[in-house]
Amino acid sequence: MKKKYYSYIYLIPGIGLYVLMFLLPALVGICLAFTNWTSYNKTIDFIGLTNFNNFFKSVIKNGINSREGAALINPFIIAFIAITIQNGLALGLALLFNGKHRMSNFARSAFFLPSTLSLLISGYSFSAILSSGGPFDQLLKFLGMDWAIKGWLTDKWICILTVAFVNTWIWLGFTAAIYLAGLKAIPAEMYEAADIDGAGKWNKFKYVILPLLGPSITTNVILTLVGSMKMFDLVYIMIGQSFDYAFTMNTLVYYWKNETQGYASAISVVLFIIVVLMAIPILRKLRSREVQL
């Protein structure tokens, strides 16, 4: 009776749209990746692994100086900064927010704001602030640090680090909010027990807070990793597509979307495999370390 009542019929709209907009595109994309579909070809032929071969050949031959090499390397740079710096800063902030400070709520709202607004506003503001001879360069000059002036949005390596920094700036408050929710879920008895045992601040952090924060850490690491690997909008807005060394996987897909769709689909498949292969072991590893309350 129970099963009949909660009939699968009611899943049709939700699962149907999910399949149409997620599963089907993935399947079609995987098939297209093995074809030579372009806007110029009259016919679409099966060409085996050629697209993948071409992609990795460029990566190996020219590294970061080819669009393909950059597309493969840059997301890892962004992800590394997001996982280390962004998560570290966010954890620190969350600990501060969790203290009984009068300004906590105000600060929390301010830090969270960038993640709620269009990336365009952050992207274009930073583009101008970091433009050559712009306010940031002037500040450096004023401080007598002329040597530190770089082409923030144009130099190789530097431009991707800039995007990674802006990305961190946008999502810092969001990541901190997840840590804060995790901190709030730690029962007060845990701290009291640690106090009774005479634990210092550092030991409390290491042996009480960090293990109990497991679920939040898992969530944040996965979210920042996946978000960075998929990076599109911010790179597209801030750097555009003029430098080969500034591509990411998804800006490269966009670059080829109107010409060589078969090749672009192969790039999507590579990204899909990388993200899944990285996310699942990390998820397992972090999950196994989580302490159940």
């Binding site: 999910y18 997620f22 400070h101 365009l120 969530t219 998804n250």
Partner: protein, 275 residues
Amino acid sequence: MGVSTKKQAKLFSEIFLVLASLVIIVPFYFAIINSLKTPGEVIELSFKLPNKLVFDNYVKVFNEGNVLNGFKNSIYIAIPSVFFQLLIASLTAFILQRRATRTSTMIYNFVVFGLIPSGFLIPTVLILKSIHLLGTNTGLLLTYIGGGMPFMVLLFSGYMKNIPREIDESAIVEGCSLPRMFFTVIFPQLLPILMTGGIICFMGTWNDFTGPLYYLNKTGKYTLPLSVYNFVSQYGTRWELVYADLVIIALPVIIVYASVQKYIIDGMTAGAVKG
């Protein structure tokens, strides 16, 4: 630690929090002041306050940027996107959560898996084309509803675990059909999480930049974020208009954020932590 050093540390934290918050919102301050400058002044791209406030930029943006049309398109997509995502995802989550069989768990995992990988945008273009919805607001809307399922189902089923089954059972005994039971008994219980889901969905749809870029091909159909490209070009970006446009795009979200931010922060993090 003595009392006075503790007090000092606290004062230091308070000052740090205020300063850090101000640093975080600096780019928004930059956008706002530069949206109020003359073209001659804005070219310096500086933090200086405008000599004279030029509200004319906002009028220009409305006239030249087709902002009203973009606004209309965005509303026409955001409202149904919120409505259908809440309706469909809550029903899906409800059935999956209440059945709790091996199959339903598998379906649940299959849906939530969608959070991890990145989308296949080119095949989606192809699929929309084949059902004659490429370049239409309806097509874009379908991608939002389908793409929003993983997060919304995750969010709602976490919440539903706390709604006792006895509520369902008493309705079943009275011979209530599932749709009626769901909408009259369960739906009202979901109000807080519907609020959260609705806001997240609104912001996601309103701010989305990639979807319109891929799935819309006529300027007449463009949503608000793409209107910025009326003022950005290789031959010279009209920054004062870009920033005025960006402020217009951000305004509805800022209003929503300011009025219901508790729901946004708590909700976004609650869903994420339970995942």
